[in-house]
Symmetry: C2
Subunit: 659 residues, 2 copies
């Protein structure tokens, strides 16, 4: 079903066994949509119904654009699309996995709509659901789910982005009136970039340091009215964040609280409460553990943003691929016709590794969304599973959003000057997605969180550490018990065990053997982690300044975390494809999986050579194999992007891809 | 003069001889500004005077923004800033080097102003100056220089971006009326993305296929009135390109010509003319050579855009560095204070290689601007020098603009959510610079042009080939005479000669020896070029489809060109610093040069290992050395960005960098 001109035959690629598969696009699309095909299709049809927003985003004033986005969000809410994650008894859909699928699919369209949905139903509604108790649920959620009650999620402060534990807003319990008094202490403590705050939210879930009877109990969340009849509530100051690079359909704002009083019941008290008499009590003894338990319940936001980054990449790839089989440039042969862009090797090299990686991340995202569903549905809700989920969500979010940024940029450049016009999708895609790498956790900080989780696996001493635990760790916290020589040795033994058939195995395995791909990525992960542990220990042993030790090892920490997530992503791809019966679809997916895996190895081939896991001969062979895979994917490329199922109306770009 | 908190001492870096230099910021700034300090300072003060445009760009309607940009351009013209490149007798400044310096410096401010200046004075005025003769100069240039007469440069067509030789617009000579009749043939031939066309231009320099007496004479340029009293001229259809990702202060548009008649004198006839009787004559016999000679005179545009990309990167780096010595995040030590971002090793790794590369590209840009000045002032205007200039301009433009895109993105992410607000500079910087990698020649096409030039050095057979000559080349054009075995051998001998002291030299040289750095990059360049030549020849020998041969070798072609330009960039840096007397400034610049060189090797260390020029041990040592250099640069970083001399008013971003 390849619809474009087939490229010239590639004589020297024929290995005898390869027959070009015929891609059944609807079947592949169904495979990608998976069990949530129904909700995905509902979102697709909602997007198409409101497709005019793509144009309105350019033509309306900022105020009107915001109102229009709100309107659309409310209309989508009536279809049930946005309430999938809430319990059915409160008016929701009772299916967390479906709510993630719905959100991801929204990323095909205007991204202000997506983010507004995320703020209202994910962050605000999600915080009340996860941190509140029955009384809060019944009071707020039914109207939240319909959008009648709009709220915002006031966590981030100007001076405290990723370091939530250091927030400067304070909530002091006043036993005399049984109220909390909420105050912003200094400019660094103003709430900033808060979606829905500048215009539409009546309520805010405010994160503040709780003080009871002179004791500081750490960060807790409170429901605070910030706006009544369209005016800021008493003691609340609201400022508009103004124009942004993108997402201008979302009303981000700043909030200051000056002695704002809320009743004792405003505390979202699932994990901790304050009695009328002013006694603090919590089911979780350890304050760090309590903090991370509370924060951990909000992991859905990260899962959603990662998926959004991946799906935004699909839009860009669909446009760039379709353009490249339409646009000709320069005559290469002597037949008088210019060549199609996609027949150029360099163009294939620019787009296809990104295409393969998009498939890989799609399946990795499916795994983390399934885990989220299982944990929050109570199917598998032990502490270890939660920790794994949080780590995987952080890692997938970082890789998915970076991939979005990179893919959109490459696709824009691959569409030349036409890609620069707003009437095509790239302008909005690029501007709107840019902040994905920052919000819901800065990507670098998230990878540090992943690294902490990896070290934690070796010792439970780590698990109570704060999000930036490595820093505290090198400051001397239980160092000796954790990174003992024995642990490091154990680590290296594990690495050795990874190599079946002895040291030479990886030199002899087939380049297209998924076991080879996985073993390479596993080896790298284990080796990097061991090296980080050793370097941290050495620093401490040498009595270095702990901040300095961390600073010096930080790039290795991030690299180890990234290696871990890369391995998870590849594993997800391979495990998804392996069980498929032999079919043309399997052949096509294997081409993508092989391309993704070899590109992952190629892009870090220096490391593999440095660590004796790749000969220079084999390294060059991998690059050649990648080019060969690109040529095999060439005739399938349009089918492979069409299977993403981005509605035609979301592509716009008629100049680029035709009618 | 380091103004920020010094980082903790780095005990194990002390090699005994290193003493932290004290950077004299004004002296370093003067060194960077070089001989054009006066014009650069004029532009700086013009930018400050019109600083309100940075805000107006956000608040004005698109129409008003365009008018405002035009106003500013006209006001700047009165200061002489924009006319530096024109002869004094016509009202210009008579200094081409100064005109490039002025343009580059404009990149510190609003980039619509920059591009409008480029269109009016560089492209339109430049085409008349370079392709026209005295009559055209006297008729048009005095009013062009003041901006009283506005024009546009109508080369690009919707279906023909980089492949100018394939343009579809036709100019037919009508001997009866002694006129040219200009017509757009088909939608692919409409002129597109033409700056100044939608609103302000009265004239266009139109590139079209010249037909005389039934013969096609190739692409030539004509002065065509497109607008009279604000209305499109007869036979001219004008459409607005509408909203763009950025640069919305420039009125880009589309043009169609339907039998538009212009007098015989409208042909810009410096290189070719048509007599009244309809006889075509040219001083350049070979049509390809003629075409490239004409196009070559327009090289200044590329030199300017490359410089603009580099200078836009300076703005981003200044903001991100200042932010990173102000913003604290997470507590690493136990002193109760959070760490400054710039004290994190990862943050240094993100910013400092980009800082060093910005310095490197600054000096490389200085070299190409000097060459441009010398060639166009007639000081050194032989054909070989022109070819070198064109190749260097193409390469520096590609690397400079990619560097701009990458640096701005990294700096935005390094400033977190605050970087996303329009009140800071990143939103505009990112959106406005995005198209730099595409216009004035798509970067990949430009690198192919560089590669063609490199092969040309081996044989003059190449020099008449078209811009995409490699394609034609593999189609069989004089192959045997060019890439003979002997040539390839000669090439490899040259590579060998590069290594002083035999094969092992590169393993023993000091990591901070500039000769080592240069030899590594030279070796890579020569080796890659030889490999490309061999692969092309093999394809032809095997009777492969020429398009297919080129497609397969294309990534190597691009890599070879890039390697060549990287070598030129490093050479420019080293040659600039070497003659300096011993001083703190020299120490600081050498830190940057070493960092740049080692990062260049590190980022391609896999290739060096694959080709036996780097052991794994030495490769790891390079990475360690880079981290050590970053720590040495840390206390100097603010001074090093301040020396760029970006006016405070151009930084905005008070929330990021303070008042």
């Amino acid at each position: 079903m390849a619809t474009d001109t087939a490229p010239p035959s590639t004589a020297d690629d024929s290995d005898g066994s390869y027959i070009q598969p015929d891609v059944d696009v609807p079947a592949l699309a169904a495979f990608l949509d998976g069990k949530y095909v129904e909700i995905r299709n509902l979102v697709r049809s909602n997007l198409v119904e409101h497709a005019s927003i793509l144009e309105e985003a350019e033509t309306l004033s900022r105020d009107d654009y915001r109102e229009r986005v709100k309107e659309i969000v409310l209309e989508m809410a009536t279809t049930g699309q946005t309430g999938m994650g809430f319990p059915t008894e409160l008016g929701g859909g009772g299916d967390i996995g479906a709510s993630v699928a719905a959100f991801e699919t929204l990323a095909f369209g205007d991204l202000s709509v997506l983010v507004k949905v995320g703020v209202q139903f994910g962050l605000f509604g999600g915080a009340i659901l996860q941190l509140g108790t029955r009384e809060h649920h019944e009071k707020y959620l039914p109207d939240t789910i319909t959008g009648k009650l709009m709220g915002c999620f006031a966590m981030t402060e100007t001076g405290h982005g990723s370091n939530v534990q250091a927030l400067g807003t304070v909530a002091t319990y006043d036993v005399a009136t049984q109220e909390f008094v909420i105050t912003t202490h200094g400019e660094a403590a103003r709430k900033d970039y808060i979606g829905n705050a500048a215009k539409h939210a009546e309520l805010a879930v405010v994160f503040a340091q709780l003080e009871v009877g002179g004791n500081s109990e750490g960060v807790h969340a409170f429901v605070v009215p910030i706006r009544e009849n369209g005016k800021p509530a008493d003691g609340v100051r609201i400022e508009d964040d103004g124009a942004k690079m993108g997402l201008n359909g979302v009303d981000n704002g700043r909030l200051w609280f000056d002695g704002v009083r809320v009743p004792r019941e405003a505390l979202l008290n699932r994990f901790a409460d304050v009695s009328a008499a002013g006694v603090y009590e919590s089911s979780i003894e350890n304050p760090n553990k309590r903090f991370f338990t509370m924060l951990g319940t909000l992991v859905q936001g990260r899962v959603c943003v990662g998926g959004a980054g991946i799906n935004a990449a699909k839009v860009a790839l669909t446009i760039a691929t379709r353009y490249a089989v339409r646009r000709r440039q320069f005559e290469a042969s002597t037949d008088g016709q210019e060549e199609l862009l996609l027949d150029y090797g360099m163009h294939q090299r620019r787009l296809f590794p990104l295409l393969a990686r998009t498939y890989a991340l799609h399946f990795a995202q499916e795994v983390v969304a399934d885990q989220l569903h299982d944990v929050f549905s109570g199917a598998t809700d032990d502490e270890q599973t939660r920790r794994e989920l949080e780590s995987r969500a952080a890692g997938t979010k970082a890789l998915g959003t970076w991939h979005g940024t990179r893919t959109i940029q490459e696709c824009r450049e691959a569409c030349g000057g036409a890609g620069y016009l707003s009437e095509n999708r790239f302008a909005a895609l690029k501007a709107d997605t840019d902040v994905f790498t920052t919000f819901e956790g800065d990507n670098h900080v998230l990878l540090q969180l992943v690294a902490k989780g990896l070290l934690t696996d070796y010792s439970s001493e780590f698990q109570d550490m704060d999000q930036f635990g490595l820093v505290r760790f090198v400051a001397g916290l239980a160092v000796e018990t954790v990174i003992e020589r024995t642990h490091v040795h154990k680590l290296l033994e594990r690495v050795k065990d990874l190599l079946p058939g002895g040291e030479e195995w990886d030199q002899e395995a087939g380049l297209l053997d998924p076991e080879y791909h996985l073993t390479m990525l596993r080896y790298r992960e284990e080796h990097m982690l061991g090296a980080v542990a050793r370097r941290l220990k050495r620093g401490i042993d040498n009595d270095m300044n702990p901040g300095e030790v961390f600073s010096r090892v930080q790039d290795h920490v991030i690299a180890a975390a990234r290696a871990h997530v890369e391995r998870l992503v590849l594993e997800a791809f391979i495990e998804k494809v392996r069980p498929l019966p032999d079919s043309d679809m399997k052949v096509a997916l294997n081409l993508l999986a092989d391309l993704h895996a070899l590109c992952a190895i190629e892009s870090d081939r220096a490391w593999f050579m440095e660590h004796g896991r790749l000969t220079t001969t084999r390294s060059k062979a991998i690059s050649r194999e990648i080019n060969s895979l690109c040529r095999k994917i060439r005739p399938l490329a349009v089918d492979l992007v069409d299977a993403f199922g981005v509605p035609e109306e979301m592509l716009r770009a008629q100049d680029l891809i035709g009618d």
